[in-house]
Symmetry: D2
Subunit: 299 residues, 4 copies
C-alpha cells in the first residue's frame, strides 16, 4: 500500500486533468504539477501543489507521475522530449498514464519507460467532467497487479470504480471498446432522429418514444435532451470522439477485428469535423446528418 | 369511444400476434381470428374466439380488423388476395395494421383500403413476447386522430403506452427509427465485445465495465448476459432485424436521409444470416463478428 | 428465326428507348409505339410507326412487345394496369423487357405474364445514349434459349453484342453486377480525386497520373475529363445510378451476398441526391464529396 | 544534373527494391546497398555494388540514399535508429524515399532529415514487379524542384514516367489516391463477381461481359483472369493493400476528407487478412466475400 505521503506528479491539466489533480491534492498527496499553458496550474498552486517548470522537474519531485494527455504522441513527448520526465535522475518511478490511447501505443510506452528503469500502469478513465470533479470516475487499469496495488489509494482519490482488466494493453482496449459503445449510441441516436424528423415526426415526440423503451440509457437521455434543445455545449467534444474512433479502428486492424459500423461512423465524424463541428459536443453529429438530409420533413 | 361490444378480427397469430389476440379476447371483445397455419388458432378458440376460414370471413364478422404480419406483402395479400378482407360486402371498416412496414408501404395500403371505403390506422408496436403477453407493449400510431379515438380502448388491451406520432406514415417511421436504435445497440455491443475479447479482455469483465457506465440500457444488460452465457435463444430473431434494417434504409432513401452506419450494420447482418444465424437472437451478430476475427485473444 | 415482318411493340420512349425504337423501325419491323408523354412518339411516327393510345393497343398490334422503363413498378403497370398489355385478346406474345430491374422482380414479372399465356425474356442493356443511337448496345439476356432465338434478329437491330447469361434472373443480375462495377469506378474516382485535391494536388495533374496507369478504363478517361472541366451533363443521371444501387443491394440481400462498399456508396449517393445533384451525371458525386470536405487544399 | 558518377545508396531490397537497385547499378551509378536479410544483397554484389554492414555505412559512401521500405517506421529506423544513416558524418545528402507512406509521415521525415542538414525527396512508385524489372515504373515526386532536377537521371533508371506532383506530401498523397483507385477496382470486382456468381451466372461468363464494357481497365483484365483461374499468386499482396488502405484513411482524416467506401473496403480487407489471406494477391478479397456468401448459386 502506498501511503498518502507518497509523492505524486501530474502532467496535463485540461478539462479532465485539472479536477482530477485537485482531488489528488485534496486527499493530501504531496503534489507537483505541470501544464504547457501554465495559467491552468494556478488553482492547484492555491491548493498547495508545487508548479514545476518542466516535466523533468515533475519527475524529480515524484514517485508516481500521472499523465492525462490528448494522445500517445503527447505522452511520449512529456516522457522523452526535451526536459522530459525520463531525463530525471534515478530509477523506480511509476508512470501512471490515464490518457486514452491504443493498446499498441501503450505497449510501446511501456518499453520506453522500462528502458529507463521505470514501471508503467495504464489507467484510462470513463466518465466526463462531472465525475472527474466528484472523484467518481471509472478507471480501467492494465498492467502488473503489484504496481496497481501500490497505486490503488491514489486512484481512489479520482475514481469510485477501479477495474483491473488484465496485462498492459487490456486497460487501453477496454477503454476503446467502451468508447465504441458511446460512439454507436451517439451516432445511432443521430441516424434514428434524422430518419424520424425527416419522416414527419417531431423530435420531442420521437425522443419521448425512445426514452420509454429498453434502449434508454443515461447517455441517451442526456443526448435526446441536447437534440431537442439544440444545445451542443461540449461534455465530450466531437473532435475527441473522432480521434478515439481512429484509435478503435487502429486497434481493430492490429488485432484483426473488422468493425464495419465503427468505420462508417468514423467517416461521418470526419465529415462533421470537416464542416466545423469539432468543438461542439459529440452529439452534434445529429446536426451534420440533419443538414445533409435537408431541412424539415421530407415527404 | 368504441364499446367492448365492437366486433374485432385478428389475422396473424405468430409469436407476437397470438398473445396480443388473447388479450383482446380476455377484454371481452367479440373476436374472429384467422391464421394460415390453423392450429395456432386453437388456444383462441378455447377462449371463445370464432376461427374463420378466410380473411374475407374475418372481415365479414368484424368492424375493426387487426393485422400483425411479417411484411407489407403479407398485409396486401390478406387484404386484396384471393378471399381477401376487402372482398367482404359493406364499407366503413377499420384496417388496424400493427405490422412493422415502411411509411411508403403504409401509405400505399391506405390508398388500397380507402378505394374500398375502409379506413386505415397504422399501429406498429415495440416490446417483445413478454410485454405482448402482459399487454404492456408500446404502440406507435399513425393516422387520423378520430379513427384512433374509436380504437383506443381496443389498443389498451394490448399496450400500456399509446403514442399518436402523426399522420399515416409517422407511426411506421417512428417504429423504424426505434428499431434503428435497437440495431445500433446490438451491433455496437457486438463490435465492442469483439474488440475487447480479441484484445485479451475476458467477455464477462468487459460486460461488467459496460454495465457500470452511462451506456447501460436494459437492452444492453440483457444482451451482455446473452453473450457471456452464449445463449442465443431468439427474443427478436436475427432474420427479422435483418428485414427491418432493409425497411429503415428504404425509408431513408425515399426521404433523402443518409444512414451510413445502419447500411454497414445491414451488410453485417446479411453476412450473419447468410452463414446460418438467422433464426438465433439478433445479438448472435456477435458470434458472426467473433468468428470472422478468429478465436481467442489476438496479440 | 423471326422474320423482319414479325410485328413489334415498344413502350417507353425515354433517352434510351427512343433511339432503340428508331433502330427497330429502320430495320423494317412493323412497329407500334406508346409513351405516357405522347409527343415523344412523333419522330417515330415520321418513321412509319403506328402510335397507339394505350399499352393494350400496342399488344393487340404486336407479336413481341418491348418495354424500356424506369423500374419494375412501371413495367408491372404497363402490363397489368388499366388498359394494360395483358388485357389484349389472345395468347402467345413475348414480353421482351429491356428495363434494369432486380432478378426477384424479373421472376415475378415472368409469373405474371405466364398466367396470361405470354412468354418473358429479360434483356437489360449496357451502354449509354451513343451506343443506343448507333445500335451497338450490349444486351444481357436471361430466359429460355428458344425464346431468345426467335428474338435474336430483333435484338441485333439494337445491340452489337448479345450475351445469353442463363435462365430468367441471370440477365438481371449480370446487369446489376456490371452496374456495381460502374458505381465503384465512379465513386472510387470521386474519393481518390477528393483526397488528392484536398492534399494539394491539382485535379488535372492527378487525372493525368490516373490515366497513365493500369486502372485507366474508358469510363475513367471520360469521367476524369468531366471532373477537370466541371462538366456534369448527364450521360447516366445520378438519380438512376442511385436507384440501381438500391437494386444491387436488394439482390444481394435476397441472395445472401454482403456488399459493404456498395452499401457505403449507396449512402453517399443518397446524400448527393438529397442535396439536389440527382439530375446531373453520376460523377457529380465528386462535387458532393469535395463540398463536404470543404474548398481548396487542406493542409 | 547529377552525373552518373554521383554515389548512390539503396536500402530495402525486397520484391520491388531489388530489381530497382539492379537498374541503378546497370546504369553505372556507384552503388552501396544494405538489407536487413543480407542474402538478398548477393545478386547486387555480383553486379558490382558494395554491400554495407549498416545504414550508416551506406550513407557514408553515398550522396543520394534511396529507401524502399515497408512503412514510415522502417524508414525512420533506417534514418535515426542504431547505426542509422543520419549518424554518418557530413551534411548535404539527399534522402530519396520511394516508400509508400502518408503525407503526414513524409513531412515528419522531412523535418527529421533537415535537422541533420540533409534534403528529402519523396518518390513513391506505381507499377508492380514487372515494371520494376524493366525500369518502367511511374514515379510520383513530391518536394523541391531543384532537388528533383539533381535526381532526375537517377530516377530515370527506374521509371519511364516521372511526375512532379508538388511540394513535400503531394507525391505521397497522389500515390495514396492512385492506390485508392486500385483498391476500389479490386473490391468492386470482388463484390460484382460475388453477386453475379451467387445469382447463378458463371464467373467466366460474367468476366466476359465486364471486359466487353467501358469499365475494362488493364487491372480488371488481369484480375478477372485470376478469379476465373483461382490463381492468387501475389503481384500485390493483400496485406500490403490492407496497410495502404489504412494510410489512405489516415490521410483523409488528417485532411478532413470523408472516404466512406474506402473505409468499408478497409474493414473487408481486415476480415480477409484475419482469415489468413494476407499473403495472397489483393484480389483474393473475392475468395473472402464468396466464402462469406456461401458456395454456389443462391436462388
Amino acid at each position: 500500500m502506498m501511503a498518502a505521503s507518497r509523492r505524486v506528479g501530474f502532467v496535463g491539466l485540461g478539462l479532465m486533468g485539472a479536477p482530477m489533480a485537485a482531488n489528488v491534492a485534496r486527499a493530501g498527496f504531496p503534489l507537483t504539477v505541470f501544464n504547457r499553458s501554465p495559467h491552468k496550474a494556478a488553482p492547484l498552486k492555491d491548493m498547495g501543489a508545487h508548479v514545476a517548470m518542466s516535466p523533468m522537474e515533475v519527475a524529480e519531485r515524484s514517485d508516481v507521475v500521472i499523465t492525462m494527455l490528448t494522445d500517445a504522441d503527447a505522452v511520449g513527448a512529456v516522457l522523452a522530449g526535451d526536459d522530459g520526465m525520463l531525463a530525471a535522475a534515478g530509477e523506480g518511478r511509476i508512470s501512471l498514464d490515464m490518457s486514452t490511447i491504443s493498446p499498441e501505443q501503450s505497449l510501446a510506452l511501456e518499453r520506453l519507460v522500462e528502458e529507463h528503469g521505470w514501471r508503467r500502469l495504464e489507467a484510462p478513465v470513463y466518465g466526463s467532467t462531472g465525475p472527474a470533479r466528484e472523484g467518481t470516475l471509472g478507471i480501467l487499469v492494465g498492467g502488473d497487479a503489484g504496481v496497481l496495488a501500490t497505486c490503488r489509494s491514489l486512484l481512489e482519490t479520482m475514481g469510485s470504480r477501479i477495474f483491473h482488466m488484465g496485462p498492459m494493453g487490456a486497460g487501453a482496449v477496454a477503454k476503446l471498446a467502451f468508447n465504441l459503445l458511446v460512439a454507436s449510441q451517439f451516432n445511432g441516436l443521430a441516424e434514428a432522429m434524422s430518419l424520424a424528423v425527416k419522416g414527419g415526426v417531431d423530435a420531442r415526440a420521437a425522443g419521448e418514444v425512445f426514452l420509454a423503451t429498453a434502449v434508454a440509457s443515461d447517455l441517451l437521455k442526456r443526448k435526446v435532451g441536447a437534440i431537442v434543445d439544440e444545445d451542443y455545449t461540449p461534455a465530450f467534444p466531437l473532435k475527441h470522439l473522432h480521434k478515439d474512433l481512429g484509435l478503435m479502428l487502429q486497434a481493430g486492424h492490429a488485432l484483426g477485428v473488422s468493425l464495419p459500423a465503427t468505420a462508417a461512423i468514423h467517416e461521418t465524424y470526419t465529415g462533421a469535423r470537416s464542416r466545423g463541428l469539432g468543438d461542439l459536443d459529440s452529439i452534434a453529429v445529429y446536426r451534420h446528418l440533419a443538414e445533409l438530409a435537408g431541412e424539415g420533413a421530407g415527404r
